[in-house]
């Protein structure tokens, strides 16, 4: 039997006042296995620890129990103390006779009785303790940032500035994300491109950053410290090494396609860069629309290119690379307004979305910044904004607030008034949410200085009569329905998760909510961490966010990622699950229950009756397991157990408690 010591702490009078410590020590000394029991005034103090260390040596202890304050307070102290005298730190248990006993029970007799029970529980447990050792995981000093919107760019820049190599990946062929499409930004009204493009250039030129655009993540293996990421680099049909970005090919290409960047309100070519300041500023060919690639006829771009950069035989390339940590910054997409049949279901040309208006306002947009409505190019006079479209609407399965639209509508109404002084903006709202620095002041200016006419109520229906739009809404403050004849209606379409956000989440093994927003590890205290070690979140992929918040998160995620990258190896959690392969039936129940995907089923070769057989057993990945214990309960074969909180330990505790 193990040789156990018990150390009863007085905590000054904190414990000793209502617990008879001597009686506890005496009872302890009488327990089988206990070879030494002792009380002392302050166990955690320097002399207290020396006392423990000497006792360990003197009595040749295999482990000990400290009956004192909460283990949440001093467990680490007493474990380290064990380490210093050559004992495995996990051969120590602390039981709580202060917070759970002396401080809450004034009756000394009852308190002492309970303290003794708790002490017995500790002794019973430590008798079953096994030495534990934390595994170490090597760290690959390289980060991957998925998504190169403003959040991803910021994260990549900050990691790179911390001195670590980082790959910034985006599936589109320019970085910049949605912010590149926006005209001016609230609440300062500085031009989006003017503040974004310098960052785009900076990140592209940073010696520690590798840009990987027009590329998608296909699969992710491994875990924190060594993620193996398989990436598909899509065929561009342009040799970026040769191409100088002169643009001759673009000019001459005869095939016009509606530009996604311009919200299909303007054309682009089949060989194109999405917008003039794009980074990298070299074109790609949109294969489904290229005449040559579809029919074999044309090839004008190839003929005209002065550097012979066109490669019609280009192929997708698939590479696998290893990264130590990943930042996910895949952003959002605008809600698809076709779900609102009552607003025309996207079929009425002059009912547009916020992003359309950003492009109409933009000097380099399809109308060169002139406000022309899509149907007939006329300048609108009466403009109606409708807020919370695709937000705060349970019937459309979008119960959440999109957080940015209140402010961008105020911004757009201001800009419209500046461009069209004779126009009038009517803004239907349910609430105006301006919880940011200088936001409320900005909204006030929209109302007072820019003539924005706010109406409290939702719009029920929009329909077209001739070239006008009839908008029917409620003015709930007035208490009457109202009707507006409008020339242009702007739906403040909310934010949706990327259409494929769930697939990416499954590839990465991170959690997402009912709508597809990525779930942070803790809503308040771990806002950029995920449940999966080594993977961080930044920007609107985690939930609707404006630019300041996205940038702040980008930097926060970068700090978290950099903190990992400074390490050469990581220490794992020692109190984790352990699978007894001999007992495991390979049923896989544990695999599905594990919140961290820490368990895999793997084939195991075995010699049974002289023959080699293969069967499936579960294995724990010590880098991923966080020690929650869910698998141990799920396992029908009792094959799963947990270090530090084993079935045997807990059973022994229960037995000890009940056996009085």
């Amino acid at each position: 039997m193990k040789r156990i010591g018990v150390f009863v702490c007085h905590c000054g009078s904190n414990i000793a006042h209502t617990v008879d410590c001597k009686q506890v020590a005496d009872e302890a000394a009488a327990m089988p296995g206990v070879v030494h029991a002792q009380e002392y005034k302050y166990m955690c103090s320097e002399p207290g620890q020396v006392l423990i260390q000497e006792a360990v040596k003197e009595h040749n202890l295999d482990g000990y129990v400290v009956t004192a304050c909460s283990p949440r307070m001093h467990e680490t102290t007493f474990r380290k103390c064990a380490g210093r005298c050559g004992l495995n730190p996990y051969m120590v248990e602390q039981v709580n006779i202060r917070e759970h006993c002396s401080w809450v029970h004034a009756d000394k007799e009852a308190g002492t009785e309970k303290a003794i029970d708790l002490m017995r529980m500790g002794v019973a447990k430590v008798l079953k303790n096994e030495p534990l050792k934390a595994a170490t995981i090597p760290m690959t000093k390289r980060a991957l940032v998925i998504g190169a919107g403003i959040a991803g760019i910021q994260a990549a820049l900050d990691i790179a500035d911390n001195g670590f190599p980082v790959t910034l990946l985006d599936r589109e062929h320019s970085i910049g994300g949605r912010m590149a499409q926006i005209d001016k930004t609230f609440p300062t009204l500085d031009c989006s491109a003017c503040i974004l493009t310098p960052k785009m250039v900076e990140v592209a030129q940073h010696p520690n950053v590798e840009l990987m655009t027009y590329a998608e993540v296909e699969s992710v293996g491994g875990f924190i410290g060594s993620f193996d990421v398989t990436i598909r680099k899509k065929a561009r049909y342009v040799d970026t090494k040769r191409c100088t970005g002169c643009g001759a090919c673009i000019q001459k290409c005869p095939s016009k396609v509606p530009s996604e960047f311009e919200m299909e309100m303007g054309p682009r070519k089949s060989i194109y860069v999405p917008f003039p300041q794009a980074v990298p500023n070299k074109p790609v060919i949109d294969a489904p629309h290229c005449r040559y690639l579809q029919t074999g006829k044309c090839g004008i771009c190839k003929k005209i290119c002065p550097t012979d950069a066109i490669r019609f035989d280009d192929q997708d390339e698939v590479v696998t690379e290893r990264f130590g940590t990943i930042v996910v910054a895949t952003g959002y997409q605008q809600f698809d307004i076709s779900a609102y049949e009552e607003y025309g279901g996207g079929r009425i040309p002059d009912v547009i979305t916020g992003m359309h208006l950003e492009r109409l306002l933009n000097a380099s947009g399809p109308t060169s910044g002139k406000i022309k409505r899509p149907s007939d190019g006329k300048e609108p006079k009466n403009i109606v904004f409708i807020k919370c479209v695709g937000s705060r609407d349970e019937a459309k399965n979008r119960p959440y607030c999109s957080k940015t639209c209140c402010m961008y509508v105020a911004k757009q109404a201001t800009l419209l008034k500046e461009k069209l002084p004779a126009s009038k903006s009517y803004i239907f709202y349910m609430d105006v949410r301006t919880g940011g620095k200088n936001y409320e002041e900005f909204y006030r200016r929209t109302q007072v200085d820019y003539d924005g006419h706010y109406i409290r109520g939702r719009v029920s229906k929009i329909f077209q009569v001739g070239d006008r739009l009839i908008v029917r809404g409620d003015d709930s403050l007035l208490g009457r329905p109202v009707e507006i004849e409008a020339d242009l209606v702007v739906l403040a379409a909310g934010m949706d998760p990327q259409h494929d956000a769930r697939e990416l989440a499954r590839t990465l093994g991170i959690a997402y909510d009912a709508h597809g927003w990525y779930t942070e590890a803790h809503p308040k205290l771990k806002p950029v961490e995920t449940q999966t070690g080594g993977i961080f979140l930044a920007g609107a992929c985690q939930g609707p966010k404006d630019i300041p918040d996205s940038v702040a998160q980008g930097s926060a995620a970068a700090v978290k990622a950099s903190a990992l990258l400074t390490k050469t190896e990581l220490t794992g959690e020692p109190m984790i699950a352990q699978c007894n392969e001999a007992m495991c039936s390979g049923c896989g129940l544990c695999v599905t229950i594990c919140p961290y995907k820490a368990i895999t089923r793997q084939p195991k070769q075995e010699r049974i009756h002289g023959k080699m057989r293969e069967r499936m057993v579960s294995t724990i990945n010590s880098g991923l397991c966080q020690g929650c214990g869910a698998c141990t309960v799920a396992c029908p074969s009792s094959a799963m157990n947990m270090g530090g909180f084993s079935d045997e330990q807990i059973m022994a505790e229960v037995d000890a408690l009940c056996q009085r």
Binding site: E341, E342, G345, R347, K461, F463, Q464, V465, G466, I470
Partner: protein, 291 residues
Amino acid sequence: MRYGYYPGCSLTGTGIEYGLSADAVIRHLNMDMKEIRDWNCCGASSAHNHDPLLSIALPARNLALAEQQGFREVAVPCAACYQRIKAAEVAARDPLKRREMEEVIEEELSGAIVARSLLEIMVHDIDDSALAAQIRRPLQGLKVACYYGCLLVKPRAIAMDEAENPMTMDHLMERLGATPVEWGYKTECCGGSLTLTRPDTGVQMTAEVLKYAKLAGADCVVTPCPLCTSNLDMRQGTAEKKLGRSLGLPIYYFTELMGFAFGLPMKTLGLDRHFVEATGLLQSLPVPASG
């Protein structure tokens, strides 16, 4: 037997032209459809204002009869009846509700029989070529405002098409050669249920519907509902007074236009039984070159 036909109370009364034309078209197309024997009123405008259980029990008896008589589906021409019968069908899918209904009607319900609007049957169950083969007088150049009313498309649980912009009848009209106009009042309420209790309110609503049909450039309005039709047709004069302008919009049932396109006689279809003269417009359509 495929469809049990449930004409409802209106189709022999105010909606007689619907009854006649539906009958003629069903016969002409040789459809496997027969009237449900001993059907009763579904309680349309009133039962639901009285008692929720009564409002599903009355139509449920018809579903039970249809099942007993071996029908697989119930074809309902009247939109008001459709809404009620469909509601009973939906309710009967819930076993608890079904038991309650069975107790009240003293008949068994399997919960399997399906109620469908006649419009939807005509559009979805008769294929394009079969329909095209029947057309003798295509409705060339006829600009129709397809008016669905509320009852076929709302509420969502019983709707036969989208609530805001249904297209079923538009497709049918296109197949008959007519041109459906784009307009915003396809499913706005005409005030049908208020006709008798609040005629003033009702006619104001009717006038709005007619106004927007006219503004959209329609020659006529086509409907799948006897309540809507009697409002839009019978009260068009009053509506004109209210609007201070003449409208002159004939109101057709889609079955009348089908029958006309098939070349059936106008009288058989009841086209002579309208308040707003309805035969002239059709007669003025270009006659197709023979062959």
